[in-house]
């Protein structure tokens, strides 16, 4: 089923514009992530798709060829995994999973068969008769996913499905979730504020800020061809070097940098992994901080731009704080982006 949103927007009664008119098309079987900082409108967008939030006049939500804009949530047949999981504490794991099928008034035998199927798929069979209150966070997350998926929804929606877990568990469950979603073969949309999570799970990522979809594309595409300073900063933590006055060179405190293209009036961004410490570098700076991160060092440098510039240094040893070093940045690693006055 193709999901299409036309002109979707939401204004709260107090006048807050949570979502500015946005269009979004998601193809069958695609896993799309809505990524953005808190308050960017990503959860509002998800809730409009689910039917849990009443959108502004003019919004159209299409599930394939059905206009579901006016359909209440219980008639939309969407599966949803909530941030807090919202499992029914008065029911066991099995009854939680069977609930959606029961609401569809399926025959008993069919319900039992489907529940077994989903239990096996989500590796929950040994826990089937437990009370949901007796489960760990990771187990609850799987039950929530199984419950949403069991009634064969047209669309699976996940609202920050990993944020209720502790950091150690989150990484392993991220891969597990990605694997399960792909095995389900279902169109899925999930909301997150964690770029790593979005990159690891989604086929396409929609980066949102201030109620707008800034850019949508594959994780690689977003990383390599960020369309705006916000996307560059949010995906891969790009740092701003400075603004180009004229032509193909950028003048910085620490030296001159040649650009791959004419950058007149645009700002130059770079990621820490592209800032290399090398004796033949065009720029020079002073080492302020050195943090050892296992596979590499994270080095803070002053005197290159107005603020601290970071470099990820893969070497076996690192320069000491206070030393002066030369830096090299390959021209193709530089991102020339137009700064929106509203979004500096």
């Amino acid at each position: 089923m193709t999901l299409s949103l036309k002109n979707a927007s939401k204004t709260y009664p107090d006048g807050t514009r949570a979502l500015l008119p946005s269009d979004l098309v998601i193809e069958t079987g695609e896993i799309v992530s809505l990524l953005g900082p808190s308050g960017c409108g990503k959860t509002t967008l998800l809730r409009i798709i689910a039917g849990l939030e009443k959108p502004d006049e003019g919004t159209e939500v299409w599930f394939g060829s059905d206009n579901v804009t006016r359909l209440p949530v219980e008639k939309r047949n969407v599966g949803m995994v909530f941030q807090s999981y919202a499992l029914f504490p008065n029911m066991s794991v099995r009854t939680n999973i069977a609930y959606g099928l029961k609401m569809q008034k399926r025959p008993r035998a069919e319900i039992d068969q489907r529940v077994e199927e989903v239990l096996t798929l989500c590796r929950l069979t040994p826990l089937a008769n437990r009370a949901v209150t007796a489960l760990s966070g990771g187990q609850r997350q799987r039950v929530a996913l199984a419950r949403a998926f069991a009634p064969r929804p047209r669309l699976l929606l996940l609202d920050e499905p990993l944020s209720a877990l502790d950091a150690a568990l989150r990484d392993s469950l991220r891969d597990e979730l990605s694997d399960l979603l792909r095995r389900f073969g279902i169109t899925a949309i999930f909301v997150t504020h964690d770029q790593n999570e979005a990159m690891a799970i989604a086929d396409r990522v929609a980066v949102m800020s201030d109620g707008r979809i800034e850019q949508i594309g594959s994780p690689e595409n977003l990383y390599r061809n960020a369309g705006s300073p916000f996307v560059a900063r949010f995906v891969g933590n790009a740092m701003r070097l400075g603004k180009v006055e004229q032509g193909r060179t950028l003048s910085l405190e620490g030296g001159q940098l040649s650009l791959p293209d004419d950058g007149t009036g645009r700002a130059v961004y770079v990621r820490a992994e592209d800032v290399c410490i090398a004796d033949d570098g065009q720029l020079s700076g002073r080492v302020e901080s050195v943090t050892f991160l296992g596979t590499h060092y994270r080095i803070g440098l002053s005197g290159v731009t107005g603020t601290l510039l970071f470099s990820l240094h893969p070497g076996a040893s690192a320069p000491k704080p206070g030393e002066r070093v030369k830096l090299r940045i390959a021209p193709e690693a530089l991102m020339l982006l137009t700064e929106d006055t509203a979004h500096p």
Binding site: A50, L52, P72, V73, E74, K75, R76, N77, V78, G79, M80, F82, S84, A86, L87, F88, P89, N90, Y99, G100, M103, Q104, T133, R147, A148, P151, L157
Partner: protein, 263 residues
């Protein structure tokens, strides 16, 4: 272990307080079983007073139980949806409504009864039926049910649970039956315990609303104290104990159990 002076004092005060509460109760029970109270226990023990009470006031026992159960049913039917509506729509209107429901607690029972009499006293059939007393009891006990259920509903994430059920295809009635009521059960049970006990023991209101043919247990008790031998009144108290203690224990057990399940 050596008892310090403070420990001994603590124990003494505790025992004294217990004695202060228990001795009159025991004395009253004994009085109900003594042949002649003025001669003391030496006059012998008997069950004839109990039998006498049963002969005179059996109707009151049944009426009180019937009233308590009817009152429970009414407060559940009105109170649970009311608490649900209040929990779902928080805001100043709900706060005012909640206070309004609780008003009968602050207003003396006599005043409440007087108001009921002024308003409905002329409706003969209603005035003389047991349902007139029931109205008073429901009015008085409803806030306990509403508050007890509301407290539980406020403690769970009702909104998200309902949204969860809605995404799975449950309409509003199904959500109420499958999600709201089972999760509010500890509150409903605790409320039920309070309602039944209050209804059985209610005197103020009932005394104003009763007719000579409709005496509840406490009204009958007052009647027996006023017009019968002290032994009969005491035997009556004993019957009251025998009735209310197992009821209280059973409901306490039920509500503890519900709390364990929900925890």
């Amino acid at each position: 272990m050596r008892f310090s002076i403070i420990k001994v004092l603590q124990l003494a005060i505790t025992l004294l307080a217990c004695a202060f509460l228990l001795v009159p109760a025991i004395q009253s029970v004994l009085a109900g079983l003594t042949v002649n109270y003025f001669k003391g226990v030496s006059s012998g023990l008997t069950l004839k007073w109990l039998w006498k009470v049963w002969e005179l006031y059996a109707d009151s026992v049944f009426l009180s139980i019937w009233l308590a159960l009817s009152c429970l049913v009414c407060t559940i039917i009105i109170g649970v949806p009311a608490a649900y509506a209040l929990a779902k729509n928080p805001g100043w209107i709900s706060r005012i409504l909640e206070e309004f429901i609780s008003l009968p607690l602050a207003v003396p029972g006599l005043a409440l009864a007087l108001a009921l009499l002024q308003l409905y006293g002329t409706m003969q059939g209603f005035r003389t039926s047991w349902s007139f007393i029931l109205v008073g009891h429901v009015l008085y006990t409803l806030p306990f049910m509403v508050r007890s259920v509301l407290a539980v509903l406020a403690a769970i994430d009702l909104k998200t649970l309902e949204e969860g059920a809605a995404t799975l295809g449950a309409g509003s009635l199904r959500r109420f039956c499958d999600v709201v009521v089972p999760n509010a059960m500890p509150g409903i049970l605790a409320g039920a315990l309070t309602v039944v006990t209050l209804s059985i023991g209610e005197f103020n209101l009932t005394w104003m609303l009763h007719t000579p043919y409709l005496k509840t247990l406490p009204v009958g008790l007052a009647d027996s104290y006023a017009s019968m031998r002290l032994e009969i009144a005491s035997a009556y108290t004993l019957i009251f104990f025998v009735m209310i203690v197992p009821l209280l224990t059973a409901m306490q057990w039920a509500s503890n159990r519900a709390q364990r399940i929900s925890a």
